[in-house]
Amino acid sequence: MEYHPTIVSFLCNWCSYTGADLAGTSRMKYAPNVRVIRVMCSGRVDPTFVLTAFEEGADGVLICGCHPGDCHYHEGNYKCLRRYKLLQMYLQQMGIEKDRLRLAWISASEGKQFAHLADEMTAAVKALGPCKIKENIETLS
């Protein structure tokens, strides 16, 4: 059976979700593997969300926020950036490839960029193969 990666994404309401929506309303074609969860701000993304996504079977996690300086709540995206850096260090120590977690800045008008990002990430996660975390945890249980 061919492997189709599942990528869970957290998109901030003001910029990146709108940008992703624009890709849709513009009828752009892009990989269908990205599942969208809307949050008010990328700063809302607790590391627990990312880890839980992997635990529940995500092959990749994508976080999108407003460009630096444009955050609706001023600093939320910077908090997200710092947590993302920490998460990456942690995940690599845990044997999880760095391309499985990605942070990108997408503005409300960047529909094309979002579509491109979805394709790029899907290809990268596809090349890595399925993420074994969920399987691992199920075996442990």
């Binding site: 590391p47 630096p68 710092r82 120590q93």
Partner: protein, 328 residues
């Protein structure tokens, strides 16, 4: 406790057992010191390998639920630890995951960065003082000329107690501070109303920071992370404000901030505060807030100053964390 109360109430039957443990939790029970006589007056210890000669056979012969309270400390590392966990669950009314190892995996949980093969290879083969040309490894069953010898199977992964059986309460700490144990013990013995099943007992609801008496300001802003060897602690300022990782914000209070009293930063043995499923995630979030930079390159540089994030944020909780172990 009144003398009359002591006479009126029958003694509870209590057991203390260790899985993959160090004995520190048993020492924490002994450290009741002179209060020992009160404990002995209220409880009949029926199984405690470190102290009593009760054997496994005797536990097997007990009726189900005959033991009122069992404190199981130590992680589940091998088949014997698991087998006895199931046995004690059957024979006990209340089963408490006692100490960090039973609660979250503890220090032995760090073995989840490796696996059986990795550990055996190091311990029995590449260890520099070990000479083992025939690559002998401990086996669950060995035939010797007199008969067969058995030892437990060493699992690939370390587990917490609740990952193998149903746990009633968690009493955290490495080991739990004795005063907290005495409080919980007295509550059980005097028949006080117990919190809902699955609760953490013997620890505060708030974090270490609430108890710790080091000087703190409202704003923690870190421009640079230091290891304890990189600087001289002033002995009074919050460790995080001095740039040293301290797990205080992600750890329950209740231990009396004993490591901080010894001038070492907290490493999180009391486990995460209420409603926090993963202490490391909480710590990453807290640190994310404290880093004083909005520049990506600078943030990267600052974050790389943290030595061993996984082993520091999950020092006691790797098996109990969301990811549970390193992918190998």
């Amino acid at each position: 406790m009144e003398a009359n109360d002591k006479k009126a109430k029958p003694k509870i039957k209590m057991a203390v057992y260790w899985g993959a443990a160090c004995g520190g939790c048993c020492v924490s029970v002994l450290d009741v010191h002179e209060a020992l006589f009160d404990v002995v007056a209220a409880a009949d210890l029926v199984f405690w390998p470190i102290a009593l000669d009760t054997k496994y056979k005797d536990v097997e012969a007990m009726a189900d639920g005959e033991i009122d309270l069992t404190l199981y400390n130590g992680a589940v590392r091998n088949s014997e630890n698991e087998h006895i966990a199931h046995l004690l669950r059957k024979k006990s009314k209340i089963l408490v995951a006692y100490g960090s190892c039973a609660h979250m995996g503890g220090i032995p949980g760090l073995a989840n960065f490796s696996n059986r093969e990795g550990i055996f290879e190091r311990v029995y083969q590449t260890s520099e003082s070990t000479v083992n040309p025939d690559r002998v490894r401990p086996q669950p069953v060995t035939k010797v000329k007199e008969g067969e010898l058995t030892i437990p199977e060493f699992y690939n992964d370390v587990r917490t107690l609740d990952q193998v059986t149903d746990v009633d309460y968690y009493l955290p700490g490495c080991p739990p501070q004795t005063e907290r144990l005495v409080e919980v013990f007295m509550a059980i013995v005097t028949g006080a109303e117990l919190p809902p099943k699955g609760s953490v007992v013997g620890a505060l609801e708030k974090t270490q920071c609430d108890e710790c008496t080091r000087k703190k300001t409202e704003n923690k802003k870190i421009k640079e992370f230091k290891r304890p060897i990189d600087f001289v602690d002033d002995g009074e300022t919050c460790f995080l404000e001095q740039g040293v990782i301290c797990m205080g914000p992600a750890t329950r209070g209740g231990c009396g901030y004993r490591c901080i009293e010894g001038n070492a930063p907290c490493r999180g043995c009391y486990g995460p505060p209420a409603d926090v499923p993963d202490p490391g995630a909480r710590m990453m979030s807290a640190i994310g807030t404290m880093i004083d930079s909005n520049d990506e390159k600078e943030i990267q540089k600052i974050v790389e100053q943290i030595a061993d994030p996984a082993g520091t944020f999950y020092r006691f909780s790797l098996p109990g964390s969301i990811l549970r172990r390193k992918l190998l």
